[in-house]
């Protein structure tokens, strides 16, 4: 079944239907897998909306959860209910997010007498520092990821333009960009530790 024919607005599933969708998904049924992921996305948003204020963090974490469910799908025991399995992943990712959040922010202190008034446009040294930092972050990526991140965020191309230039799908561009950012974040976090 072609993915383009699949109805994006799949009706939300209950526990039994979600379980059935997972059973079918494990047997390679793409349409049911898509329905399941749409349900997971909606559940994750519901779960996180009570806990997170920042909309961008909520989007990021929802994507993280979707990737986690995708990566862990082989560990689901078909004889067990699916919702506890899903909520265990939600909890795990949320706690992981909190850990990273407090680790990166707890050491940030602002000295009131030490305001940094340097301007990127007028300070060549600062511009040089930023350029170096950008190069360093890009060096963490594999060539394809680096190319996509450069086109999207340095050259300011749209996902559609990148997709045409590299001859890959738009969704592939977005997934690669998401993984690249995740990779950079994890490298930076590792260095902070």
């Amino acid at each position: 079944m072609s993915l383009s024919k699949i109805n994006d607005k799949a009706t939300l599933l209950g526990e039994a239907e979600a379980h059935q969708a997972m059973v079918l998904a494990q047997n390679g049924d793409q349409s049911h897998y898509q329905k399941l992921l749409i349900l997971v996305e909606s559940m994750a948003r519901g779960y996180l909306s009570h806990r997170l204020q920042n909309a961008s963090d909520l989007d990021d974490l929802t994507q993280e959860i979707l990737i986690s469910v995708h990566n862990a799908r082989h560990t689901f025991d078909l004889k067990k209910p699916i919702f506890p399995w899903l909520y265990a992943i939600f909890n795990y990712r949320f706690q992981d997010y909190l850990r990273a959040y407090y680790r990166t922010r707890r050491n940030i202190t602002q000295d009131m007498n030490d305001s940094d008034e340097r301007d990127l446009a007028t300070d060549p040294h600062l511009e040089w520092e930023y350029r170096n930092l950008g190069q360093k972050l890009l060096s963490y990526l594999v060539p394809q990821q680096r190319r996509i991140i450069e086109m999207l965020y340095v050259n300011g191309n749209s996902a559609q333009e990148v997709s045409t230039a590299l001859n890959i799908s738009v969704s592939n561009v977005r997934t690669t960009a998401h993984r690249a950012i995740k990779r950079i974040r994890s490298k930076v976090n590792t260095q902070h530790e």
């Binding site: 993915l3 994006d8 998904a25 494990q26 390679g28 793409q30 897998y33 898509q34 992921l37 749409i38 996305e41 929802t62 994507q63 979707l66 990737i67 986690s68 995708h70 990566n71 862990a72 799908r73 082989h74 560990t75 689901f76 025991d77 506890p84 399995w85 899903l86 909520y87 265990a88 992943i89 909890n91 795990y92 992981d96 799908s169 738009v170 969704s171 592939n172 977005r174 997934t175 998401h178």
Partner: protein, 214 residues
């Protein structure tokens, strides 16, 4: 919302391309039992039983200690694999295992009749540290095997799962040092053979988060 749909579609496409092998807990648990049995059997076959094993098994403290070690080895090993998939700790029977470690210590201390003086003498005899090294060496193969098994799953209780794996592994080391080694004094056993079990379990608790992150 559209972006999310695109993202979901890319995951579905990816799922169509790669169908991972199902992580079956029952067969993994059987594999763990097989590994532990073969490993313990091999080491005992190669190293041989301690010379006074016949006398030792007649001691209540030694018998209970060994029985508890075997329970810890197998149950913690299986529990670590069961926690290799997303799940909550909840009312899992595995939460009893850390208490069993305390019981093991109490058995050695009380039934072995360990006095404070004997403990002080043992602590101040660093030449006995070879016993601890033996426990750690005996734990390494089991720890590596369990960590490898767990890394193929997707554990969500990383600290707990990590501590269970190292509990099973260190109990293996403890069991082997007691069945192959010649230590006589229960004070030495408590200080040099039992304490690595506690320490390694704590190490699993502390580093599970790093080692099993996915």
């Amino acid at each position: 919302m559209n972006e999310e749909n695109e993202f979901i579609k890319s995951l579905v496409e990816d799922a169509a391309d790669t169908q991972p092998t199902v992580f079956d807990i029952a067969s993994r648990s059987r594999l763990v039992i097989l590994f532990l049995t073969v490993y313990l059997g091999l080491v005992i076959a190669v190293m041989g039983l301690r010379s006074d094993w016949y006398y030792q098994v007649t001691l209540l403290s030694y018998s209970i200690e060994m029985a508890l070690s075997v329970i810890l080895i197998f149950f913690a090993g299986i529990a670590s694999v069961r926690f290799s998939v997303p799940r909550a700790i909840g009312r899992s029977p595995a939460v009893v295992l850390p208490f069993l470690v305390v019981v093991l210590g109490m058995v050695i201390w009380q039934l072995g009749g360990v006095s404070l003086n004997a403990l002080i003498v043992s602590v101040t005899t660093p030449s006995l540290s070879y016993i601890s090294f033996g426990v750690i060496a005996g734990a390494i193969p089991t720890a590596s095997f369990l960590m490898w098994q767990m890394s193929q799953g997707s554990p969500t209780q990383l600290k707990f799962a990590g501590s269970l794996a190292l509990l099973s592994a260190s109990a293996c080391g403890h069991f082997l040092m007691r069945i192959v080694g010649q230590a006589q004094s229960f004070a030495d056993v408590l200080v040099w053979c039992y304490s690595p079990v506690i320490i390694l379990t704590m190490v699993g608790l502390m580093f599970g988060q790093k080692l099993l992150k996915w």
